[in-house]
Structure formats: structure tokens, C-alpha cells
């Protein structure tokens, strides 16, 4: 197994810069390819800390921050966290953090993670008023630890049902939706999904998290949520959601997306990357390993494999790669 320094060397060959080429020039960053690949592979970092939860079962905030820093350092190849974040986010732009609290308080994006990201964003030069934490519904946002607060002087926490949706519909394939204004006001969005089994889609993580940026997600549930790939192809979602810091600190391996403590599992990990398809493929494999370990049937066997992952990788969607041979997986 490679040590962390080796990983950083490898990671450095694929240093990221998430702005578009024009944005890079405007913002004065060093010219760099807008790549999320290493030698033609999509890079996914799985950062793990077995001690993330203390003996009392509570999450250790400092270890969450350290795990985030390790994940970002491994992904960017830059050891200094602030310098690394400066390579990820464009300063002077509005950065959205799409959390996921649909499953309720027991299985929502952990506020410790969201706040750790907010801290690093600010240290990297993003003003508090340019950070937007958002979720579809007020109670989902509350489950993630935040109340709807639209104060531009501080970090904005927006509920879609209060802040509203665009009047005009957007469409791609089977997905015709109205986008949350909280998404459209952002220049860049970082997805903060939480890893869960899903009663229809099989898996909910990076791509499925985008059901929380539309007005009527229930209209996209047909055929095991087959519209996930189409939804992610809607230009505002495809273009703005450029990075994922997946919360795999806690998870439910069956019975999701609601909270079922009897199926709770603590992978104590973050899954990080730009390629949402590669991230979902990686998360799916983790979930399947846990189900097998628990003596459960695979998602395929129970009739709900997350087929949307392969769809998202196909020629009609081109959202990323799902071929393990084309995923550069870094476990740190």
C-alpha cells in the first residue's frame, strides 16, 4: 500500500482546478488543464479514519477536519489545506454546498463536515456571504443542522421551499424540472451527499443528491429513479456541480433513504472527487460489500441495482466513467 506522501506525488500529477478555462484566466490562476483524471482515469479519493467516532459514539470534530484535509490534500496533491482549497474554488464567486437531510437527523450530511468545509472555504478567501448551504425542504435542512437564514452578511442557509424555484422549466431526456433558485444563484456547487441505500434507486449518493435541487423530485421516481442521469445532464447541474465531498461517515446499508438505526453502519470515510459517476460507482461497491458482510442479497438480486450509474457513463450522457479500469482509486 502506498503511503500518504506517495499518494500526494501521484495526486500532484492530476492537480485540479475546477473553474472553466476562461474562469481560470480571469481569476489569474496558473494555467492548468481542467482535468479530473490521472493518465486518462478519473480520480476518486476514499479517506478513512476508524477513530472518527469517539468511545462515546460522538463524532470528533477535529478528526473530521483532519480527515477532510487529508482527502483534499490527496486529491489535489497540495499538502497545505488552504492552498489546496484555493485550487478547488474560484475566489469571488458564490459557492453552494448541497447537503442532504432527507433521511432525517440520524442520517443527514453531518454538520461537522459542512462546517469544516465552510471554514476552509473562508480561509481560502471565499466570503461568508458567498457560501450557500442549501437543501430542498426546511425540515431536511434542519436535519443537517441548519435553519433557513438568508442573511448575505453571513453564510446563507437556504431551504428550497422558502427560497423558491425558477419559473421556467429545464429539460433533458426524461427529466423536466424547475431548478431551485439556491442552485442557480451559485457559480459552483459542491455536492455533500450522504451514502445510503435507496428503496427505489438502490443507491443514493453524488448524482441522486441532485433530486434535492428540483421542485418535484417525486416525478422522477419512475423505473427505479432512471431519470437520475438525465437530471444530472441538465446544464445548470452538469456545469455548476463540479466537486463532490461525499459523506460516508455514517450510512444505512438497507431500508434507506430513511433512517433505520438497525441498519446503521459507520464507514468513517469521505469519498471525494470531480467525476460524479466514478464516485457513485465507488460508493456502490462499498455498499455492496457491506450488504454482503451483513449477509444480505446484492442490490441486483433484490431488484434495485443503481442502473443509472451506467446510464450516466453512456455516450448519450457522458457524465463520467463507471469502468473500474478507468477509475484511479486512492484509499488514504
Amino acid at each position: 500500500m502506498k503511503n500518504r506522501r506517495d499518494f500526494l506525488k501521484t495526486a500532484a500529477t492530476g492537480a485540479v482546478l475546477l473553474g472553466s478555462s476562461s474562469a481560470v484566466t480571469k481569476l489569474g490562476y496558473a494555467a492548468a488543464p481542467d482535468t479530473h483524471t490521472v493518465a486518462g482515469k478519473s480520480k476518486v479519493v476514499v479517506a478513512h479514519d476508524a477513530q472518527l467516532h469517539g468511545a462515546d459514539g460522538k463524532l470528533d470534530e477535529k478528526r473530521v477536519q483532519a480527515l477532510l484535509d487529508r482527502a483534499i490534500a490527496s486529491y489535489t496533491g497540495i499538502e497545505n489545506p488552504v492552498a489546496a482549497w484555493k485550487r478547488i474554488v474560484p475566489v469571488g464567486k458564490v459557492i453552494g454546498l448541497k447537503v442532504n437531510g432527507l433521511g432525517g437527523k440520524g442520517i443527514a450530511t453531518h454538520p461537522e463536515l459542512t462546517l469544516a468545509i465552510c471554514e476552509r472555504l473562508q480561509q481560502a478567501g471565499v466570503k461568508p456571504g458567498q457560501i450557500v448551504i442549501f437543501e430542498q425542504r426546511t425540515n431536511f435542512l434542519q436535519a443537517c443542522g441548519f435553519q433557513h437564514t438568508d442573511n448575505p452578511a453571513g453564510i446563507r442557509k437556504l431551504s428550497g421551499e422558502i427560497y423558491g424555484y425558477e419559473a421556467q422549466s429545464s429539460n433533458f431526456g426524461a427529466a423536466t424540472i424547475k431548478l431551485a433558485k439556491a442552485l442557480t444563484l451559485c457559480d459552483m456547487v459542491i455536492g455533500l451527499p450522504i451514502l445510503k441505500d435507496h428503496s427505489m434507486a438502490g443507491l443514493t449518493f453524488a448524482m441522486k443528491n441532485m433530486y434535492g435541487v428540483v421542485d418535484r423530485p417525486q416525478d422522477l421516481h419512475a423505473s427505479n429513479c432512471a431519470a437520475v442521469a438525465d437530471l444530472n445532464c441538465i446544464p445548470a447541474i452538469r456545469d455548476k456541480v463540479r466537486f463532490t465531498i461525499g459523506d460516508a461517515i455514517s450510512s444505512v446499508y438497507d431500508g434507506g433513504p430513511s433512517f433505520h438505526p438497525e441498519r446503521l453502519w459507520q464507514p468513517n470515510s469521505l469519498i471525494v472527487g470531480q467525476d460524479r459517476v466514478a464516485i457513485d460507482h465507488t460508493a456502490w461497491q462499498m455498499l455492496e460489500r457491506k450488504r454482503a458482510e451483513a449477509g444480505m442479497q446484492s442490490l441486483e438480486a433484490v431488484g434495485r441495482p443503481p442502473r443509472y450509474i451506467a446510464t450516466a457513463a453512456d455516450a448519450a450522457h457522458k457524465l463520467g466513467v463507471n469502468d473500474p479500469q478507468r477509475i484511479h482509486l486512492m484509499q488514504v
Binding site: 459514539g57 432527507l102 440520524g106 435507496h198 428503496s199 433530486y211 423530485p217 430513511s258 438505526p261
Partner: protein
């Protein structure tokens, strides 16, 4: 005219009385299975009860709503609780169109580590949650932490709810 006026007054008074009794009767029959603060020792009701009719269930459990709709859910009510100021829990009461619907949901979610709980028509207990059904009602209580007190505390709250069903 005078007689007619008296008749109208009498009719109006009688109508008002019947209406008032009717409203009171309806209130009396309306299901409120959520124990108030202190009704079950140690438990505090920390939120207003929210009720979602079937067509709005997505607002509460989007992604899970379909299985409840397929089982004939009529409405779902929910409230938050806290035990001894520490242990947080949520109570969901799903009212189905028939007992079969409640049975279907309960059987679907059953896992190997479930213990039989003597509640309602049937009940299951886990270390951090309890589910039971009584008639068309399905009750699920979930704690957000597992402590040595959790199972007994949840059972006490479940009994408090059962008594109100």
C-alpha cells in the same frame, strides 16, 4: 310573524347546539396518539405534531413514500421527543386504510435482529427503535443515539402511545 320569528330562533338555537355537539364529537374521536410532555415519565414532546396526507407524504419521506402509498397510507403524523433532556427521538404514526397495510410495511422492514415487543397487534424492538401496529395504525419510534437507557425509554414511550391509539 311573531310566531314565525320564535320558530326561527328555536330552529337556529337547535341547529347551533347540534353543530356544537357534532364538532365536539369529532374532536373527541380524532386520533391524537402523541403523549404530551410528562405524560410518560422522562419524556418531553419537543415539537408540534405535523401531519401529512397521502399525496403530500413526499414532503416528509420523499424516496420512501411510495412503499407507504402502495400499502394504502391515509396520513402520517410525526413529532419529536426528548428523554431526560438528552436522548432525542422521533415518533411517526402512519394511519393506513386497513390493518393489512400496517402489517405489510412492518413485515417488509423486519430484520433478523428484531425482538418481539408486546405492543398492539404486533411489535418489534431493536436497540434503537421500536415498531408496532394496532389496527390500521403503524407506529415507529426511532432514537438518535444508543445508550443503556434507550430500549427501556423507548418501550415506555411506545406504551404511552399504544394507550392513546
Amino acid at each position: 310573524m311573531k310566531i314565525d320569528s320564535k320558530k326561527w330562533m328555536f330552529a337556529a338555537a337547535a341547529f347551533a347546539m347540534v353543530a356544537a355537539l357534532g364538532i365536539a364529537g369529532c374532536r373527541g374521536n380524532k386520533l391524537n396518539p402523541f403523549p404530551d410532555t410528562g405524560a410518560v415519565k422522562g419524556w418531553q414532546k419537543t415539537a408540534e405534531t405535523r401531519t401529512f396526507i397521502a399525496k403530500d407524504l413526499y414532503e416528509y419521506i420523499d424516496g420512501d413514500a411510495e412503499q407507504y402509498l402502495a400499502a394504502g397510507v391515509v396520513s402520517t403524523s410525526t413529532s419529536d421527543y426528548k428523554y431526560e433532556g438528552q436522548l432525542e427521538a422521533v415518533v411517526d404514526v402512519h394511519t393506513m386504510s386497513s390493518p393489512d397495510g400496517a402489517r405489510k410495511i412492518m413485515d417488509t422492514g423486519k430484520t433478523a435482529d428484531a425482538k418481539i415487543a408486546p405492543l398492539g397487534d404486533a411489535g418489534l424492538a431493536y436497540s434503537q427503535s421500536i415498531i408496532f401496529r394496532r389496527g390500521p395504525n403503524l407506529v415507529r419510534i426511532v432514537a438518535y443515539a444508543s445508550t443503556p437507557e434507550t430500549p427501556d425509554a423507548l418501550m415506555a414511550l411506545a406504551r404511552g402511545i399504544e394507550a392513546k391509539l
